[in-house]
Structure formats: structure tokens, C-alpha cells
């Protein structure tokens, strides 16, 4: 029973990680930017939700739409204000990475100045719980699962069946040939950032509703996304999702026989094992034909 409950908890954490990790991965694959400021986008979505719910008194469904749109817009804005000027100077990937960390830190500080470092809560009290015998599941777990079940297939259909979805995959595969085919790379970047940030918006809406909003809430999320992407295999989207679920499961299942103090040991031990024995990640073989 304990094991089953831990498994369910792990899948629920994994679902939330997957939303941010896949958003992060889609941006990295398409633009080759290690977008650490994805964490700031996440937090911005949380504050947008707070403003929509608490200050504008919008119904929650509308507020979530506002949060999603704000996250997407914020992601695009970071691309335009931070990465595009760096690209125009032909900066290296390392410079873009430093730029993204700078943007993350700056945004956190600005959020703290505007909203203080207090937690802003969107709701009161404990979450509704559903009991199934010995197993109990919170409403957030159920919604997280629901979002993943709906959003990921839609994302898949978008990427495989639409003109711009195909262009995103093409850009990730071979940027030079994409240009030759007439893809406007700068405009496609905006779309990629919007989609990746939208996914983070889903995750933050849930987390903000459950745990409230704080300026630095995006940082651990960012870290988890990065690890999930490495474990799952850089460059392969389902790999990032699988990596996220694996991470959530590891974190929770490690508690089965070990104390919580061992959580990091298990998770980062797994990361090291992957880096050493499967440097291409869980699904590295899917990338044998990727561009160099």
C-alpha cells in the first residue's frame, strides 16, 4: 500500500516536472539555448495567476488562461530582450547560457521587489482529498494527470501535423536547411518560446494554486527540468517527459526504504550513473540520426 501511494505521489510530481521539462526541452532543441530563465517564466506565470485571481477577482478558469498567456508572453519577451541581442552579436552558446542565468536572477530580484518575498496564497486551507481505501489523492494530483493526458497528445499532434509544428522539428534537426527552405528563424523562435513557456504556465498554475507564489519558486523547478532532460536524453521530447516522470518516481520511491535525507543521494546518484553509463540519456539511441 505504501509503495502504491508513493508510486502515485511520484507520478503526480512527475507530471508537473514533465510539463516544465518538456517546455524547457522544446526550447533547447529548437534554439540551442539552455534557457535557465524558464524558471523566471514559470514564476511570472504564478504571479499573473495571483493578480488575476486575487486582485482582478476573475473566475479561476479565466485566471488560468491569463496565467498561460502571461507565461507565453513573458517567455517571448525574454527571447526578444535577452537572447535576440546576443544572437545578433553571434554570441556563443556559453554566453547565451550566462545571459539566461542573468535573466533568471534579475527576474527573481524584480519579483521580490514588486511582490516582496512573502508567499502569496491563492487559496485557503488544505486541498480536497479523495480516498480510495488506503490510498489518498489530492485534487491537484488528479488535475496534473489530466493536463498531461490532454496537453501532451495535443502538442504531439501540433508538432507532427501542422506547418509550424513541422518547422519547429525541422529547425531542431537542421537549422541551415530550415533557412534554405524559407523558414523565418527569428519568428519561429518566438513561437517556440511561446509554446515552451505555455507548458510551464500549466505547471505553475497548479503549483501556485496549491502552494502559493514566491519569487524564487522557479529555481528548483528549473533545476529539475535540466536533470530530467539530461536523464531522458537531450534533444528528444518524449525523453524529457520520461526523464521527468522517472525523477518524480525516484524522489518518492526512494522514501520507501530510505529516509528523506537520502532523496538527493538517490536522485543525483541516478543522474551520475546516467551521465557515466548512458551519456545520451534513456533514449539516446533515438538520436542516432540527429544533426551534429
Amino acid at each position: 500500500m505504501l509503495l502504491l501511494q508513493l508510486f502515485i505521489d511520484g507520478m503526480a510530481s512527475g507530471a508537473l516536472y514533465a510539463l516544465t521539462a518538456v517546455g524547457f526541452a522544446i526550447i533547447y532543441n529548437g534554439t540551442r539555448i539552455l534557457h535557465m530563465a524558464h524558471g523566471a517564466v514559470f514564476t511570472a506565470g504564478g504571479y499573473a495567476l495571483y493578480i488575476a485571481v486575487k486582485l482582478l477577482n476573475l473566475p479561476i478558469a479565466v485566471a488560468v488562461v491569463v496565467a498561460l498567456a502571461s507565461a507565453a508572453a513573458f517567455g517571448v519577451l525574454i527571447d526578444l530582450l535577452v537572447y535576440r541581442p546576443l544572437r545578433a552579436r553571434k554570441s556563443s552558446e556559453a554566453a547565451l547560457f550566462i545571459g539566461s542565468i542573468g535573466a533568471l536572477t534579475l527576474c527573481q530580484a524584480v519579483f521580490a521587489l514588486i511582490f516582496t518575498t512573502d508567499t502569496l496564497y491563492l487559496r485557503q486551507g488544505p486541498l480536497p482529498i479523495y480516498d480510495f481505501g488506503e490510498i489518498s489523492i489530492t485534487i491537484m494530483h488528479i488535475i496534473a494527470a489530466g493536463i498531461v493526458i490532454v496537453v501532451f497528445p495535443i502538442l504531439h499532434l501540433f508538432l507532427t501535423l501542422t506547418k509550424y509544428g513541422r518547422a519547429i522539428r525541422a529547425l531542431a534537426d537542421n537549422p541551415k536547411l530550415s533557412v534554405v527552405r524559407g523558414v523565418n528563424v527569428e519568428r519561429l523562435y518566438m513561437l517556440i518560446f511561446a509554446i515552451g513557456s505555455l507548458l510551464a504556465g500549466f505547471a505553475v498554475s497548479l503549483i501556485a494554486y496549491d502552494l502559493g507564489v514566491r519569487p524564487e519558486m522557479g529555481f528548483p523547478v528549473m533545476f529539475v527540468s535540466l536533470v530530467a532532460v539530461i536523464v531522458g536524453g537531450v534533444g528528444y521530447l518524449p525523453g524529457a517527459a520520461a526523464g521527468a516522470f522517472l525523477l518524480g518516481l525516484l524522489q518518492n520511491l526512494s522514501l520507501w526504504q530510505l529516509s528523506g535525507r537520502w532523496q538527493d543521494v538517490v536522485v543525483f546518484g541516478a543522474l551520475l550513473i546516467f551521465l557515466i553509463f548512458r551519456p545520451a540519456g534513456l533514449f539516446g539511441h533515438m538520436l542516432s540520426t540527429r544533426r551534429v
Partner: protein, 368 residues
């Protein structure tokens, strides 16, 4: 002759005015104290509310009443960030640039590295709310709170009297908290109880559901939950409620009074029995009138610590740090707003925590 006279006059006048202003400025030179705490970052608001503001509030009260020994008190605040090196850098700046005679600090991982620097420069370290026992091993430190190991036995005794046979512990990874947890576990088992689960979480964690799932499987009578900040305590209490542990009682520490827990709401702290110190209502009212919010136990401890320093300077008749330190260490009884302290030969106060319980959202004295 004429010119020479006027020149000499001018020199005498200049010298006299120099002496005069020096004497005057010495009389008016403020008493300088520093605050070196993490006022930015994650827990900045909490630190400012419960640690910095009480000291500033005390200084304001003293200054409004004419200062100490006819001198005003000047408080300089430096942000340490939450790391030992930052804490040392902030203190070094306060010592060398601001020439402080005493520094107010908080948190074990920041204060312990600051101690050697303070000792070398003969600066008194006032860690009003720090519970780690090692603090007062230093001959330059003073605190205004019972040490961590004093909470455990008080809780264990109450749990035993309530008929709790088994207990689990959920605690933040933190040295001082570990000491409280160990003292509780030892006392509880000595009284015939059994610890059936002991889980921890890290300060930056937001999810403790896995830990709670595991604790639930142990089916405990009681849970002892202990954290270092109200924000984390709030998350823990909320998730304890969601995890449906079906425990009979929750025990905790004074942080359950934090406003973050009120902000979460939903009665998650209802019925929690916790160790704390009693805050003098007259002080609470005065503080609220001045600062706009209710002081928590840490705010009151920091206020008391500041006032003790001021009293000691008054009693010593000087702000010479060595003399003031000696005065504090032999202070004897000191009536603070959180109770009656006693100092006998060190910076360790003699005081025991009391128990309170949350009833209908109010913090009331616990009566078994």
C-alpha cells in the same frame, strides 16, 4: 606687531574650537550597534519582521526617551545573504567601517562563523532567538531563548500525559532542530513511548508528501513537526492535513504562530500544542502600535535582547564592550517581555519554554 597678535589669536581660537568640538562630538557620539542578518532573499521579509524590526523598535524607544548615558543609539543593518562567508563579510564591514560594539545575529549557520571574528574584535554577539547550544560556548555571545534541547522534554511530557503511545517526527534539516528532535525522542522513549517514524525535509523543499505518506503508514498517535521558519511550517501543516495521518495530536514549536500559517488558513494549525515563551501583552500592544503588526515570539526575544544590551550599557556606565559583556554575564534576574531571565556567569539565560495550544485560531495557554 598688530598682525602677529591677530595671527596668534586666530591660532588659539582655532585650537580651542577644535578641542571644543571634539569634546562635544564625543559626548554626542552615538552608541553604535550593528545587525548582520539575511535581510534579502528567500526569507528576507520574515527576518526583517521578527529580527531586525524589534531591535530598531527598541532603539527608537530608547532614543525617544533620551538615549543611554545621554547618547543616542545608532543601528546599522547589513545583509549577510544566507551563507557563512556573507555573514563574516557583513560583520567585518560593520566592525571596520561602522565601529560597532555589539552585533545582532540570527541563524546557526550564519552566527557560528561570525563568532571568531567578533571575539577577535571584542564585539558582543547578541543572537536573541538562536537555539543552538554551542552559541554560548563563546565568551562574547548572549541569547534570549531556551536552547533547542529544552523543548523536547516539555513536549514529551505533555504527549505522555495525553496518553500518546507512539509518535512520528517530521522536521526540517537543521542542526538546532536536530537537537530538539533528539531531545524529544530521548525523553519520549524514556517515558515509555515509541518513535515509529522520523522523516526530514530540506529548507527549500515544497513537497513533503512522500515523507508524510511514509509516516502515515506508521499509524502514529502523535506527530511532532518542527521547522525553522513559518513559511515551511505552514507547508508542513498543510500537507499533514492533506496526507490524513489520523494522528490524535500535533506538537510543534512557536513558529505555528507565524502569520504565514494564518495566510494559508483552513484551520491547519487548529489544536496544535507547541513550545513557546509568553509575550507580555503590554509590549505586544506597544509594538503593534509602532510597527503595525503583532510581534511573534522571535520578535519579542530580539526586543528583549536589545533592551538587555541597553540596560547593561546603562549599568556599566560605558559602551566599552568588555565591560558591557561582563555586566550582562553577571546581570542576575532580567525581566523581559517573554518572561523572567537570569544570567549567572555566562550569556546563557536560565529560562524554560512553556506550552500553548491553538484554539479557535487563538494562541492560548495549554492546560493538560
Amino acid at each position: 606687531m598688530q598682525t602677529m597678535n591677530s595671527n596668534r589669536l586666530r591660532i588659539i581660537f582655532a585650537a580651542a574650537s577644535l578641542v571644543f568640538t571634539t569634546v562635544l562630538s564625543q559626548a554626542q557620539e552615538p552608541i553604535k550597534i550593528g545587525v548582520a542578518m539575511p535581510t534579502g532573499g528567500q526569507n528576507g521579509e520574515y527576518v526583517k519582521r521578527s529580527f531586525v524590526a524589534p531591535t530598531e523598535f527598541a532603539a527608537r524607544e530608547i532614543n525617544a526617551a533620551g538615549g543611554i548615558l545621554g547618547r543616542q543609539v545608532k543601528v546599522t543593518v547589513e545583509d549577510t545573504r544566507f551563507d557563512g562567508a556573507g555573514a563574516v563579510a557583513a560583520l567585518t564591514k560593520l566592525i571596520n567601517v561602522d565601529k560597532i560594539m555589539a552585533v545582532f545575529t540570527a541563524f546557526t549557520p550564519l552566527t557560528l562563523p561570525q563568532l571568531p571574528v567578533a571575539e577577535e574584535n571584542k564585539v558582543i554577539v547578541v543572537a536573541g532567538a538562536m537555539e543552538h547550544p554551542d552559541l554560548t560556548k563563546s565568551r562574547w555571545a548572549v541569547r534570549m531563548t531556551p536552547t533547542a534541547e529544552k523543548a523536547g522534554p516539555v513536549i514529551a511530557d505533555a504527549a505522555n500525559k495525553l496518553g500518546m503511545k507512539t509518535a512520528v517526527i517530521l522536521s526540517e534539516e537543521n542542526e538546532a532542530i536536530r537537537i530538539s528532535v533528539r531531545s524529544f525522542a530521548a525523553a519520549f522513549e524514556k517515558l515509555g513511548g515509541k518513535i515509529v517514524g522520523d522523516e526530514t525535509f530540506k529548507t527549500q523543499d515544497t513537497e513533503m508528501r512522500g515523507q508524510l505518506t511514509k509516516l502515515r503508514a506508521a499509524r502514529p498517535d502523535a506527530i511532532y513537526v518542527i521547522a525553522s521558519q513559518g513559511r515551511i511550517m505552514g507547508l508542513a501543516l498543510k500537507q499533514i492535513s492533506e496526507a490524513q495521518l489520523r494522528q490524535k495530536h500535533i506538537f510543534s514549536n512557536h513558529l505555528v504562530e507565524d502569520r504565514e500559517i494564518k495566510a494559508i488558513g483552513g484551520g491547519i494549525s487548529e489544536g496544535v500544542i507547541y513550545t513557546t515563551l509568553n509575550i507580555d501583552p503590554a509590549f505586544a500592544a506597544r509594538f503593534k502600535a509602532g510597527m503595525g503588526y503583532d510581534p511573534d515570539a522571535n520578535a519579542a526575544k530580539n526586543y528583549d535582547a536589545t533592551m538587555l544590551l541597553f540596560e547593561a550599557i546603562k549599568r556599566a556606565g560605558t559602551d566599552d564592550s568588555t565591560k558591557v559583556r561582563d555586566t550582562i554575564y553577571s546581570f542576575g534576574p532580567y525581566k523581559g517581555t517573554v518572561g523572567d531571565f537570569k544570567f549567572e556567569g555566562s550569556g546563557e539565560p536560565i529560562i524554560a519554554p512553556i506550552l500553548k495550544v491553538i484554539k479557535g485560531g487563538e494562541f492560548v495557554d495549554y492546560k493538560p
